[in-house]
């Protein structure tokens, strides 16, 4: 069959269907072998840890190991729900993510539309480079940049405020500042990068539509309102839904490097992943970390499934599976 030059993909597939799995494996052993390193990789790092969620139901002792630690049922979860810890973490994670997603996409679309109005290739390239830069750096550096700007004693912003005779502020001891600051920092970090997708979508709009509108006397605002924005609608909805699918996944690196172990701020800044990390690395409380992790995995899974279902209804081409 393979020798037949004109064999197209579907034909090959159909002829293959008659073979048993074992025969197919033999026939495609080289392709299977090519996938083997990746299969082994995900087996070790993603599948082997799965049974470890059992830790969430134990009173875990490191020296006893997972299977010999005492089984305690839902006690770890009870503790987390009773103390209200889990509600706080969920609230913070979801609200921050919502703010990031909504504000982020708005600014990204805005920037993409404006970029489209810029004629100078050089100007566009340079400004895009500058806007990309924040996405290119490590979260450690992001933490340092924020410190550099907002530090109470030496921070740039306080220096400026003081030089105008004002009173400096200390955001690192003020939990109420961060629901404003973190979304701003996130905008700074991700807008340039995110706008590329929308910019590409705008570039894909048929230029004849735009020209025709111009001939009909549409002004620039009308062009944006009635041509560009409606054309972006599909992309926006899909991207938003995918983003919402990950709403329980935090932006761990950014949060941890900015807030760190500053417990004064936990009330408004602690997200699921920072709590898990701290429980494990600082408090060595494996079972609580594990319980919160499992909670995140299960609810995250449900949300992704729901979002995917909606995407599938809107446009089956874009659904994940």
């Amino acid at each position: 069959m393979a020798k037949k030059m004109t064999a197209t993909a579907p034909v090959v597939q159909r002829s293959v269907k008659k073979l048993s799995t074992w025969q197919m494996m033999k026939q495609y052993k080289i392709l299977l072998l090519m996938c083997l390193p990746a299969i082994v990789f995900f087996f070790i790092f993603s599948y082997i840890p799965l049974p470890g969620v059992y830790i969430a139901f134990t009173n875990f002792k490191y020296n006893l190991g997972i299977w010999h630690s005492q089984f305690v049922g839902f006690k770890n979860f009870e503790f987390l729900f009773r103390t209200g810890e889990i509600w706080k973490l969920t609230r913070n994670t979801v609200l921050y993510n919502l703010a990031f997603i909504l504000l982020g996409n708005l600014l990204q679309i805005f920037i993409a539309i404006l970029l489209n109005e810029i004629m100078s290739y050089g100007f566009k390239k340079i400004t895009q480079s500058m806007m990309f830069l924040p996405h290119f750096i490590s979260d450690v550096l992001v933490g340092l940049l924020v410190y550099n700007l907002f530090n109470a004693d030496y921070g740039f912003i306080n220096s400026v405020i003081r030089s105008f005779g004002g009173e400096g502020m200390n955001v690192y001891s003020n939990p109420n500042a961060w629901p404003w600051l973190l979304p701003l920092i996130n905008l700074w970090k991700s807008t340039g990068y995110g706008s590329v997708v929308y910019f590409a979508a705008i570039c894909g709009i048929d230029s004849e539509i735009v020209e025709a509108a111009k001939v009909d006397g549409a002004n620039a605002f009308q062009k944006i309102r009635y041509i560009i924005l409606p054309q972006l609608k599909g992309t926006v909805i899909i991207l938003l839904l995918f983003a919402v699918g990950g709403i329980l996944k935090g932006n761990f690196g950014m949060f941890y490097n900015i807030i760190g172990k500053n417990s004064v701020l936990y009330d408004t800044t602690d997200i699921i992943e920072t709590f898990v990390y701290r429980s494990l690395m600082t408090n060595f409380n494996f079972q609580n970390a594990s319980a919160v992790g499992l909670y995140q995995s299960i609810f995250g899974f449900v949300i992704v499934m729901l979002c995917n279902k909606i995407v599938k209804k809107i446009d089956p081409d874009y659904s994940l599976f």
Binding site: M5, I30, M34, V53, I137, N148, N151, E273, L320
Partner: protein, 306 residues
């Protein structure tokens, strides 16, 4: 593409006032936002060249009031630490990127082959790991207790090799190469691996460059796995983790330069942090303009279709 479109439009149709307003606003707003994006970086560079006394007195300034190279001199007083740190980071980045990229490319190619009957099954096997995971704790225990990789650089090298997202992205890139190429290789009697290495791989340059860049960035910016798995027993740390430690534990920094005969209390903590940040980020920023186009192609190819 947009440039062409609008170029044509501009020739044919005269601009009216609304165009001028929107365009003018676009230039102003984009300039402002771009400068805002760059500003914190300039601030860090400036602070790293400022004397500690000036920082204590005036705070971080965008232009050094008292220019000083002291922080850099201090770092380079013990150049071996810095050289080893760079060496480790570059070594991890190169090794990880080469191995990871090869595996990702190979898997991506196999999984997009329309005649490969197991492609959907394996794709789902890989994709599922993003949907549901055991979380941090079981992963941590696996690496520390069962693979015995605590304090080993392998604990950093291995987890960053590949991700489901990169394999899917690679699949999308390879899809652009016509199936006929594979078929022509088959007619010549080459096996699938041979077809991949000698026919497909040379045609994959844009995909390889883009995904190689993402993997390399992952290694260069790595601090997370280091913070999980490298204890203070390990002297030489990846750059970003070294920076992380310096920022979070000024003490560890004091220890690391204590050998350089500096009175520990005189250490310029603030400017030293900034100088380390500049040294840790500098190389990648210089590399950045030349790889930017791959970065963009990665985002657009992998944008929506997961």
């Amino acid at each position: 593409m947009a440039k062409e479109n609008t170029g044509v439009k501009a020739k044919k149709i005269k601009l009216d006032a609304s165009d001028m307003i929107v365009r003018g606003f676009a230039y102003v707003f984009i300039t402002l936002f771009a400068v805002l994006c760059l500003f914190p970086f300039l601030l860090i560079v400036a602070t790293s060249f400022t004397s500690e006394a000036s920082i204590m007195k005036y705070g971080f300034q965008i232009w050094p009031r008292e220019f000083s190279l002291y922080a850099y001199q201090l770092i380079f007083k013990t150049p071996m630490v810095m050289i080893k740190t760079y060496g480790l980071t570059i070594g991890l980045t190169v090794t990880g990127t080469v191995i990871g990229l090869f595996i990702v490319a190979m898997t991506g190619y196999a999984l997009q082959r329309p005649d490969f009957p197991f492609r959907n099954g394996i794709s789902f096997y890989i994709y599922f790991t993003t949907l549901f995971s055991g979380g941090l704790v079981p992963f941590y225990l696996l690496v520390v207790k069962y693979l015995h990789l605590k304090d080993s650089y392998f604990a950093i090298l291995l987890p960053l090799l590949m991700s489901p997202w990169l394999i899917i992205l690679m699949k999308n890139f390879v899809k652009g190469i016509p199936f006929e190429i594979t078929e022509s290789g088959k007619i010549d009697g080459a096996n699938d691996f041979k077809i991949f290495t000698s026919l497909i791989l040379p045609m994959m340059t844009p995909g390889l460059a883009t995904i190689g860049l993402f993997i390399a960035l992952g290694y260069w910016n790595e601090w997370y796995y280091s913070s999980l798995f490298l204890s203070s027993k390990v002297d030489i740390r990846p750059l970003q983790y070294q920076l992380y430690r310096i920022i979070n534990e000024v003490n560890s920094l004091k220890n690391s330069v204590a050998g350089a005969n500096v009175v520990v209390t005189d250490l310029p903590d603030e400017s030293l942090k900034m100088a380390t940040a500049v040294l840790a980020t500098g190389p990648i920023i210089f590399l950045y303009p030349s790889v930017q186009k791959y970065f963009i192609s990665g985002i657009t190819v992998g944008a929506v279709k997961g």
